[in-house]
Subunit: 236 residues, 2 copies
């Protein structure tokens, strides 16, 4: 194995980027920030930034950038590494390798833009991924990967609850699936399936009436992380 002292280490900058996904306004949305400087000035990009110091952990850098650029607290949401993108030329200024993270957030409380946050906006991924929509760097590809990760993880984990408020109804949860997958699910079979998974949901005992119709039971997230048996989408 070649060793770092054997030659000059190429000057590579290491960045961390964040794909923050949330369900809002009956669509899957992603948090983007408007770039204030070139390159891609004025275009939308993923929030992120460079490692601050030699001693900063990657996960820590992700959590820090999340807070700095969006005001969100990493402890309050699910944050996981997606993959690393390093094609030469992806940043026109210099060689940049970016370690990307995905975050899954419930409906955002309030101050998305403002405060420390730069101009942060939510945009439906459906719109972002349209061929005509232009996004800075290779971030569109990253967003596509993040969305596929989310879709896939709903199948075999209890991740969907991470998109819900602390207390939620079965319909809230089902709508997460429907919105992320873009597919209608049978409410009755969904209900039975989810209640059958041990440790996914904990009933609070409370009920809410948000429309005409029978009030829905409220649940909290349970301890289970894996969905067993899995909940498979209907493939094309």
């Amino acid at each position: 194995m070649p060793e770092p002292d054997e030659w000059t280490i190429p000057e590579v900058a290491v960045a961390v980027d964040l794909a923050v996904l949330t369900v809002h306004d009956y669509s899957l949305q992603i948090m983007l920030v408007k770039r204030g400087i070139p390159p891609y000035e004025g275009m939308l990009a993923l929030p992120g930034g460079f490692l601050e110091s030699t001693s900063e952990d990657l996960d820590h850098a992700a959590a820090r950038e999340l807070h700095e650029e969006t005001g969100l607290d990493a402890r309050a949401l699910h944050l996981e590494q997606l993959r690393t993108y390093g094609t030469p030329g992806r940043d026109p200024r210099r060689r940049v390798i970016t370690v990307c993270y995905v975050a899954f957030s419930p409906q955002l409380p309030a101050p998305v833009a403002g405060g420390d946050a730069r101009e942060a906006v939510l945009m439906p991924v459906e719109k972002v991924l349209k061929p005509r929509t232009r996004i800075a760097f290779d971030h569109k590809k990253i967003i596509a990967d993040a969305v596929e990760r989310a879709r896939s993880k709903l199948e075999y984990t209890t991740l969907a609850a991470a998109f819900c408020a602390p207390e939620f109804t079965m319909t809230d949860l089902r709508e997460v699936y429907e919105i992320v997958w873009g597919e209608q699910l049978d409410p009755r079979n969904f209900h039975r399936k989810i209640t059958g998974v041990d440790g996914f949901l904990v009933p609070t005992g409370e009920r809410v009436s948000r429309q005409p119709g029978r009030p829905a039971a409220l649940y909290r997230r349970g301890p289970a992380a894996l969905l067993h048996p899995a909940m498979l989408r209907t493939r094309p």
Copy 2:
């Protein structure tokens, strides 16, 4: 988003490491190299090395290191990114971030050690992952992640065939599953399940007699990449 010219970029070295998995001697084995210099001199580590230049793609660096350190050709096997490890202090000399790849290889043709390859050895992952076995850096954790990736991908992809020679029998394929999962499978149900997956296997029409008993049909890899329906291991 902070920009690279706003401050001094921390000196971070970017490396690429490889977890090459193969089925050999009725066990899942991983390729390791013996380190010739400190730190961890004399210990076993994953093959890998630093990015050679600012313009080298990560995937290219992985393929290059694979060839340099093991003599294998990346075009002949399945190579995919695993994840990136960057905990400060994981390399005692300086800050190193390593982008790890997993490779799945059929039985290795011949010259693993020798040639360009440094002292490369195959070792059963079961032995490597024992608590008493010491491996350089944080590579044991990386190996554990790679093994879990392999186990998991067998479930929903046709990856198992990547561990087999170009022509193989149903039993060869079943043994890949059994060895990687460490679990016995019913040969009869396995046979029916696999032949039922469209495009997984293409029969060559040939037969081989390797033991007493009815000769087995030979197959080649088919075009299918995804296993549908999935082949699930029995969870604990």
